[in-house]
């Protein structure tokens, strides 16, 4: 059987690689994954993100990513980038340093934002910084 290379945070071709992974495989990744559809509803939420954020998958799935899951993304730095990619039908693959408020504590993270006209789901990947 063909052994797949593990998916790492900074790798190229990330969007397609995530789409190829099933939910169990996403759970095995060492960074957080939030995948949401064109309406902003969360469709994928991996185990690490659930553990860091302190929320069960049941609470998060099918809720709105910027309203109920990550209100801190609802500004031009994150939501704005997804909006422009949508409006201009362009590929978004940006990595930015950010602060999440995991369990109300400020935590420095690196975010990778993915959107593409070729994929239905958009992703925010979250890697904790030391």
């Amino acid at each position: 059987m063909l052994e797949l290379m593990p998916v790492v945070f900074q790798q190229t071709g990330m969007h397609a690689a995530l789409e190829a992974q099933d939910d169990d495989e996403l759970d095995g990744l060492d960074f957080g994954v939030i995948g949401f559809d064109a309406d902003g509803l969360v469709r994928r939420y991996n185990a690490l993100e659930s553990r860091l954020g302190g929320f069960s998958r049941e609470r998060i799935l099918n809720t709105h990513v910027f309203d109920a899951v990550a209100p801190c993304f609802n500004n031009y730095l994150v939501a704005g980038r997804f909006d422009s990619a949508q409006e201009e039908s362009t590929v978004l693959d940006d990595t930015i340093d950010y602060v999440l408020t995991l369990k109300m504590r400020p935590v420095r993270v690196r975010l990778r934002l993915l959107a593409s006209p070729n994929h239905a789901l958009r992703y925010v990947l979250v890697q904790r910084l030391a």
Partner: protein, 438 residues
């Protein structure tokens, strides 16, 4: 896991989620603004202000838009209590893009010597509504107050006084011959308005039904009173009671100016204005009010372009002043700078503290040459003066950058950027000088 523990963890998750989605920003910091706890909405509002995505200190995050937070906390002497209640903070100017200029409201509660609790709210829309409401209120106020303290003045399409009545003499002491044919600015102190501004107010009255401003007015003998002036366009007499009362026949646009002496209310209204529109440390116009007023001036420019310049000043090596003489001395220097700015520029110029040691002056109806002259006058004054703090003499200098409004400037942000770039040029050229955008 026992059933009870499970229930508790579910409750814990619900509680975290409640804080997580709260549509209001909540932050807890130590006395120096270092963040202990913060909810997502705070991060949403604050991160766009942060360099390189680092958000560890609230005061640092807000330094450029609310420079006096540290000062507010430091000067609050009570062991606990509300340090500020819904303080308005202007984040940036509208850049002609999608959104309105965002305005935050910040409340800060001191829990004890080590802990501050901060509540943040986006109040941009609310501020807009309040502004309209204030105008309505002022309008009603003007109508219902007793008629004896009015001067009722009729103006032609150019803002010249075209009729005489007793109320003008009663309020201002002017005689008929001294006012007929004169612009209504004769009731204003010399540098408090400009010929452009005289016309601006007529246009604004056409657009919104009235134009209102409070401020110093002058009598015939040169003495001042605090007056409220309202200009309203006149409709043909049969349609408009005010015009009928004034007995005017109309052939072209004409206006009614009502001036009230509200000197007795000045203290109260000025206290309110100072609390909301002025910087605590220097008493200058604060950042939020600067953006609000400058946007009005830019709208006037767009309707009828005329010279309009912006100067940004920055005190040179201010950090060194603070390091060498201490922050209280730095504060004295900032206040001295503010006083010198006020002494140098006109009453109709907007003199503001934008943040830290950065100041802005917006000069209506003033071109590059005159702005440069004013800026250089300020530099000379600052350079030649000594600030005394506890017997220690401090000398400092200032650099300035000037930009003039032009058709290729998209908005206030762009104008500020040009002035900022000129300021950097002045700094790079050796400081204590002014550079102009060309």
């Amino acid at each position: 896991m026992s059933a009870q523990l499970l229930e508790t963890s579910g409750e814990y998750e619900a509680l975290i989620h409640f804080l997580h989605i709260a549509p209001v920003g909540l932050v807890q910091t130590d006395a120096n603004g270092e963040i202990y706890m913060i909810n997502p909405l705070s991060a949403q509002l604050l991160l766009p202000l942060c360099q390189k995505g680092i958000l560890t200190n609230l005061f640092t995050a807000l330094e450029n838009v609310a420079p006096d937070l540290r000062h507010l906390v430091a000067s609050f002497k009570k062991p606990s209590g509300m340090i500020c209640d819904t303080l308005r903070i202007q984040l940036s100017a509208a850049s002609g893009g999608k959104s309105d200029p965002p305005i935050l409201a910040l409340s800060m509660l001191k829990l004890d010597d080590y802990r501050l609790m901060i509540v943040l709210n986006d109040v941009t829309q609310q501020v807009k509504r309040e502004r309209l409401l204030r105008q309505n209120e002022a309008w009603l106020n003007a109508i219902v107050t007793g008629a004896t303290e009015y001067a009722l003045v009729s103006l032609d399409s150019e803002g010249r006084i075209n009729d005489w009545n007793e109320s003008i003499r009663r309020l201002t002491g002017f005689e008929r011959d001294a006012v007929i044919g004169q612009p209504y600015s004769i009731f204003y102190p010399v540098d408090a308005t400009t010929p452009d501004r005289v016309l601006d107010r007529l246009h604004e009255a056409d657009e919104s039904g009235w134009s209102l401003d409070d401020g110093w007015r002058t009598r015939a003998d040169g003495t001042r009173f605090w007056g409220s002036a309202m200009i309203a366009p006149l409709q043909p007499p049969e349609e408009d009671l005010v015009a009928t009362l004034a007995g005017i026949r109309l052939t072209e646009p004409a206006y009614c100016l009502v001036i009230r002496d509200i000197t007795d209310k000045r203290e109260a209204s000025e206290n309110v204005r100072k609390a909301t529109a002025c910087d605590h440390l220097t008493g200058l116009t604060n950042r939020r009010t600067f953006f609000e007023t400058a946007e009005v001036e830019l709208a006037r420019w767009k309707r009828s372009p005329r010279p309009l310049t912006l100067i940004i000043f920055d005190t040179d090596h201010f950090k060194a002043v603070n390091d060498r003489y201490g922050h209280p001395a730095g504060d004295v220097v900032l206040r001295h700078m503010a006083d010198t700015l006020n002494a140098t520029f006109r009453e109709c110029d907007i003199v503001a503290r934008l943040g830290g040691e950065e100041f802005a002056v917006l000069l209506p109806s003033t071109g590059m040459d005159a702005a440069l002259e004013g800026a250089n006058r300020l530099l000379k004054l600052i350079e030649s003066q000594v600030v005394l703090v506890d017997g220690v003499e401090i000398r400092y200098t200032v650099s300035g950058g000037i930009a003039e409004m032009a058709s290729d400037v998209t908005g206030l942000d762009a104008l500020i950027k040009r002035a900022d770039k000129s300021l950097y040029a002045a700094k790079n050229a050796g400081r204590n000088r002014v550079a102009c955008w060309t």
